[in-house]
Amino acid sequence: MRFVDEFREPKLISKTAEEIRRLAGTKLRYRMMEVCGGHTHAIYRFGLKDILPENIELIHGPGCPVCVLPMGRIDDGLSIAQQPDVIFAAFGDMMRVPGTQGSPLEHKARGMDVRIVYSPSDALKLARLNPDKHVMFFAIGFETTAPSTALTVMRAKAEGIRNFSVFCNHVTIIPAIRAILDSPDMRLDAFIGPGHVSTVIGCRPYEWIAQNERKPIVVSGFEPLDMLQSIVMLLHQLRAGEAKVENQYKRVVPWEGNHAALRAMAEVFELRPYFEWRGMGFI
């Protein structure tokens, strides 16, 4: 149990870990998927696997937007940006992601006008500052970033800015979960639901997972104690033969989500019938 002493409330963590061992017993095996890449990062960083009993297996989900982006999308974005007077704007995370002709950073070295932005509103600002250029924002992310792109597009329209485009690579989390559940060789018992995505979409969109698929799902925070408490909640449900949506991260995630963010997404985006996910094929 490395790291435990460094955590906040180490006693409570040890107690929760004990409770997990008691609830998990030794006879059954529990396979739980953490959907969100942030949770995967936390599991490794905090050494949570060392804390959990062997019969609880955590399976990593598809929740890293950069990792699931197929190379063709980077190629397409960069080829648009190869036209004259185009500025390619993207988050720093994208800069080293390889396309078949190299990464955005390598294209910059070859003379493309590539800019790092930390916010879609800064990509719009680039368009205001460079009226003789066309700014293409390479938009990426789940529902944590999609509403910001949507609002930025609404602002551009309201201001009448015409030299700004978005190359949209936003994905939503629910179709990915559905694809995982539809996959014949994936046996899962429960889900640890994403934390920050759920501040936007709320908990309702997960109800089909509980009601139709009979899998428990607990929306979880990112601290070690949050994740361990979520596992306790899942084990309680699994032992009782229940399947419900529960919210462990109530202090940040409202059940109904963020309506203003959902409205902005609904106004600006249309759902595609399918999209390619690297490692998962077309969903």
Binding site: R8, R45, Y118, T144, S148, L151, H196
Partner: protein, 92 residues
């Protein structure tokens, strides 16, 4: 991009109510409040910020917890870099 960064609202601008100055461990930058229009924050409130937009109001305690989570995850430098980057200071 994937970081949720806690910040304290310092000032809401008179000329643009959708824009606010936030403080993240001493770094002050302008962020967008447009996605909190149903439940507008006021100066002194804490918010979670994603890519320059406040996405939810949180308590001061939760802000401190989120900061300690970022620290434990080794993401503090990334968070500060992101906050400093808002407003294109690094991009121009």
């Amino acid at each position: 991009m994937c970081l949720a960064i806690p910040g304290k609202i310092v000032e809401i601008f008179c000329d643009n109510q959708d824009s606010a100055l936030v403080d993240v461990v001493g770094v002050r930058r302008k962020i967008d409040l447009g996605l909190l229009q149903d439940d507008k924050p006021v100066p002194g409130d804490w918010v979670l910020i994603h890519v320059g937009f406040a996405m939810s109001k949180i308590s001061e305690q939760d802000a401190a917890d989120q900061m300690s989570t970022l620290r434990m995850l080794g993401e503090i430098d990334g968070a500060i870099e992101e906050i400093r980057g808002y407003g294109l200071e690094d991009a121009n």
